[in-house]
Symmetry: C2
Subunit: 226 residues, 2 copies
C-alpha cells in the first residue's frame, strides 16, 4: 500500500524543511498551500518552487480570504512590528498572530488527507524561538490530533492521520541544520512578514530577525539575503 502524507507548505523556511522530512519518510507527498489573504504573496511563489524542488506528487493552492474579517497584521490589519528583540521578551501573542490560522490550515489538510487516505499531516510549527503563538504549541497540536480522530470517517475507522510537527521543539538553528542535511535550497524560501515591493525581505520584522539569528547560530550563510 502506498503511504501518503499531506504537508502544509507556506513557502517559508520551516515548512520547506518539514516537506523534506516528509519526502524522506513517506512514499507520496502532497503539498497544500493556503492563500489566506496574507500580504506576502511572494510566499506562494516560493511554495511552488519548493514543491517542485522536492518532487511532491501534487501541490494545491487553496484560497480562503481571512483578511475579510481582519484581526492580524499579516492580513493587513495594523502594522507588522519591526526591530524588536527576538525572542520577544514579553512572550505576548504578537500582532502577526492570525486568529485560528493553524486550526483552519490543519482542518483543510485533514479534509484532503481523508480523500487521499493519507496517514499523516505535517505542519512546520515550532515554538522555541518564536514564543507567543498559541497554535504552535505541542499541547494544541495534540488536542487537534485527538479531535481529528473523532471528526472523519477515516478517524472512526481507526486510520485517521497523525498530526506531525517534527520541528516543534527545535530552535531555528536546528531547523536550518536539519534542512541543510536534507539538501533544502533555502534560497527558494521566503520568511519575511512584510516584504519590499520587489519581494525582497525587509530584514526588520520578527521573522527576518529570527531567520538571521538562526543562520548565524547554525554557522551558515542565508542564500536568500546573500
Amino acid at each position: 500500500m502506498v503511504r501518503r502524507a499531506v504537508v502544509l507548505l507556506s513557502g517559508g523556511l520551516d515548512s520547506a524543511v518539514v516537506l523534506a522530512l516528509a519526502r524522506r519518510d513517506w512514499d507520496e507527498v502532497y503539498a497544500l498551500t493556503v492563500r489566506y489573504g496574507q500580504r506576502h504573496v511572494i510566499e506562494v511563489e516560493c511554495a511552488r518552487a519548493v514543491a517542485r524542488d522536492a518532487g511532491v506528487r501534487e501541490h494545491r493552492v487553496l484560497d480562503v480570504d481571512l483578511s475579510s474579517w481582519g484581526g492580524s497584521a499579516l492580513t493587513g490589519d495594523g502594522e507588522v512590528p519591526k526591530d524588536r528583540a527576538t525572542p520577544d521578551a514579553t512572550n505576548d501573542v504578537p500582532p502577526t498572530y492570525v486568529p485560528a490560522r493553524n486550526t483552519i490550515l490543519l482542518a483543510l489538510a485533514l479534509g484532503w488527507a481523508e480523500v487521499l487516505g493519507a496517514g499523516a499531516i505535517y505542519i512546520g510549527a515550532h515554538t522555541q524561538d518564536a514564543g507567543g503563538y498559541p497554535d504552535t504549541r505541542p499541547e494544541y497540536l495534540e488536542a487537534f490530533e485527538r479531535m481529528s480522530a473523532l471528526a472523519t470517517r477515516a478517524g472512526l475507522e481507526g486510520r485517521g492521520p497523525r498530526v506531525l510537527a517534527p520541528l516543534v521543539r527545535m530552535s531555528k538553528a536546528e531547523v536550518i541544520a536539519t534542512g541543510r542535511s536534507l539538501g533544502v535550497d533555502f534560497a527558494k524560501t521566503s520568511s519575511c512578514y512584510d516584504p519590499l515591493p520587489s519581494g525582497a525581505p525587509c530584514g526588520r520584522c520578527d521573522s527576518c530577525r529570527l531567520r538571521a539569528k538562526g543562520f548565524e547560530e547554525a554557522g551558515a550563510a542565508d542564500p536568500r539575503s546573500g
Copy 2:
C-alpha cells in the same frame, strides 16, 4: 459588555433554528455561510434570506473550494443517493459526507469569533435521525471545543468561545417544533442535497425525506414543498 455569538448558517432548516435560538440568547449574532463547492448554491440564497429575517448584526459568505479535491457527492463527486429508507439502517457514513467539513466550518467560525470577541459558536449539527456523519456527534463537538481552548489567544486567556449545538440530541420533528415556536419561516430554507435546476427540492434525497418525515411527525405542513 455586548455578548456576541457566531452562527454557522447553511440555509438549511437546522441552522435556521439554531440562528433563532442564538438570537434569543445573545445580544449580537453574526452569521457565517461557507460556500465550499456544494452543488446546491440555492442554500446560499436561502442563508441570505434567513439571516435578513433573523436580524443578524452581520452575515458573511466565505468561499473555500473543497470540490477541488472531491471526496463527496455534495461537491460533485458521485451521485446523491435517492429514495433510501430514513434513517439509513446501515448507519454507514453516507456518500454525502464531506471530508472534515464541520471541522473546516468550525475552524473558520473560530477565527471570526476571536476577532469579534464572541463567547459562542453555534452549529446546527444533530444526529438522532441522520446517523452516520462522524462530525455531528457530541463527542466530536466536545473534542473540538477542548482543542479550540488551546488554539487561540482568546482561549489562552480563558475567554475562548463555547461550541454550542443545541439540536444535537433532537429529532427532526423536535427541531421543527422548536423553530415554529421561535417563528422561523421555513419557507425560506432549503434542505435538498440535489435541487432541480429551478431550485425546487428533489423530494427524494436523504435530506428531503428526513425533512418530510420531520414535518409529518411534528404535525405541520412544510411551507416550502406546499
